[in-house]
Homo-oligomer: 133 residues x 2
DNA sequence: ACCGTAATATTACGCCTGTAGTTTATTGCC
DNA sequence: GGCAATAAACTACAGGCGTAATATTACGGT
């Protein structure tokens, strides 16, 4: 298992199905993605076996069919990809990344409060205040 | 010119030299990157011509040599790449991305204050924070 | 024991990236 | 004016991705 998971758009779409359902067969994933993308079933199968080779998913055979499940959590992938991008763009400086996000976009007042709340929560951090959250 | 610029690590390294200097010859870029990566000069040249084909950089010939310059700003690339990742990971929800960043990492008290200040500034509709770096 | 069907495995191909060797063109110098 | 140096152009190749057609295999039924 590599410790960094860079997934492409299509790979993410497949993983999302797996995360949502816990596990799924090739046919189920194909079905789930049919709406947004008109991909052949074999395409999905190819992608899955490649992901398996990379150690991102695994399968078990259940009556003739492969049942895939993810070996990594969505949080791990997010972490990994954000980390990677922060490295690329800001030399690993998370706060620089944050500043960029904040200064670049409109943040609604509600979101703003939510973010400040998160910050405060983070500040208290260690000692779980009973009011927190 | 595409309106989305996804650059890889090496491409970023090259662009960074261009952004830092305004412009540079192949040899200069090669020299600048020699320390961190032992790449052949022709490798740099190949990358640059591919970037040019994509409309990311341009060159002018000055006494026998190509002088390259970037056609996009670092801010544009950051914007583009962050946008893309936010799309992939959070379906475009910037605030979700922010939350993730906040909840995932240690933020020093100083940074925390800095971020809150940014938020307040944003709240007042004050334009253009002095965005360092 | 066959055969059709369903599921996986194999093969293929174009495009992009990193990587760089080889070839060609130009130019300054003797 | 020819030649060495230099810079760019061309060619190459492996590996990953998206995409999928074709081949193989294993059941389940009659």
């Amino acid at each position: 298992m590599p410790d960094t998971y860079q997934l492409t758009e299509l790979q993410m779409a497949i993983m999302r199905v797996l995360w949502d359902r816990g596990q799924a067969t090739v046919a189920e994933i194909h079905e789930a993605l049919k709406a947004e993308r008109g991909l052949a079933l074999t395409t999905i199968a190819t992608l899955l076996s490649r992901l398996e080779k990379r150690g991102v998913v695994a399968h078990e055979t259940r009556q003739r069919q492969f049942v895939y499940r993810s070996l990594v959590t969505e949080a791990e992938v997010r972490h990994s990809m954000i980390h990677e991008l922060t490295e690329r763009l800001f030399d690993g400086d998370l706060t620089a990344m944050l500043s960029h996000l904040l200064s670049e976009r409109e943040i609604s007042p509600g979101d703003r409060e939510r973010i400040k709340a998160l910050l405060d929560e983070k500040a208290l951090g260690k000692e779980k205040s009973p009011h927190a959250r």
